[in-house]
């Protein structure tokens, strides 16, 4: 397997060379369409959900501000491994137990007031936890958070809200 392009557009690649490795800033789905057999490393802005990129056809994901990781990721993907950034959305997100509880209730459509009554905290405390959780999930609203959590295919899935290992 040989490298046919690095951190550059794969637009001009000859499909006949499609068995190589492509490191690209283009959408993986576009590259995959043109080069169905290639190994693809997607170079993306930090925070871009890795899971979606993998589903679109990437074999590896690397942040564009991490130059050293590009070479490492390319080598790993060329060797047949799947690579994602440690801080990607699909990895551990740092949510606290309380944030998980509140998000779990948000998913079910509970209001801030109902959550505050259930958890015996003030509404402003609920809002504070939510702001922190939204920041960690990189979403801006409860609807966006709920959509992200309920989408097990392209989002995070509800499993990340589990509070105990055995659950």
């Amino acid at each position: 397997m040989r490298v046919v392009a690095q951190v550059a557009s794969a637009r001009d690649l000859d499909p006949a060379q499609a068995r190589g490795l492509v490191v690209t800033t283009e959408a993986p789905a576009d590259v995959r369409r043109r080069l169905p057999a290639a190994r693809i490393v997607a170079v993306v802005a930090r925070g871009t959900p890795s899971r979606r990129l993998l589903l679109e056809g990437a074999d590896g994901v690397v942040n564009d501000d991490d130059g050293y990781a590009v070479t490492a990721a390319a080598t790993a993907v060329a060797a047949g491994l799947v690579v994602t950034p440690r801080d990607g959305r699909s990895s551990r997100n740092g949510l606290t137990g309380r944030e998980k509880q509140i998000l779990a209730m948000i998913v079910l459509g509970f209001s801030n007031r109902a959550i505050s009554q259930q958890l015996h905290v003030t509404e402003s405390t609920v809002k504070s936890h939510l702001s922190s959780a939204f920041r960690k999930l990189r979403v801006r609203s409860r609807n966006e958070a709920a959509a992200l959590l309920m989408d097990a295919q392209n989002g995070l899935g509800l499993g990340i809200l589990a509070l105990s290992e055995e659950s």
Binding site: K100, Q101, A104, M105, L108, G109, F110, Q118, L119, L158, L161, A162, L163, S164, S167
Partner: protein, 109 residues
Amino acid sequence: MTTARGVNVADNASVLLSSRASVPNHIVYRSFVNETVILNLETGRYHGINTTGGRILELLEREGTLAAAAARLAEEYDRTLEEAQRHVIEFCNELHERGLIAVSPDDRG
């Protein structure tokens, strides 16, 4: 009126028709068109039950004892009392085993 699996009622003497069932503080649930979702805030786990299960849960909270909930359920679903009682006990056994309801003797006399 079905539950996920059969439970031998005799094996769990703590859940009786005369028992009172309640939803603990760490359990919340919400009914939707096709199902009711129960959330255990201590584990972060969701549990899905069908609409009949959701109705039984509501009746348990409102009526108190399993017997009263079963009587109401028999009326609403046009089933015999015995059939409704069996379903309510099986359902409560499952929920109790999963820690989703609290069961206590009916101490109202």
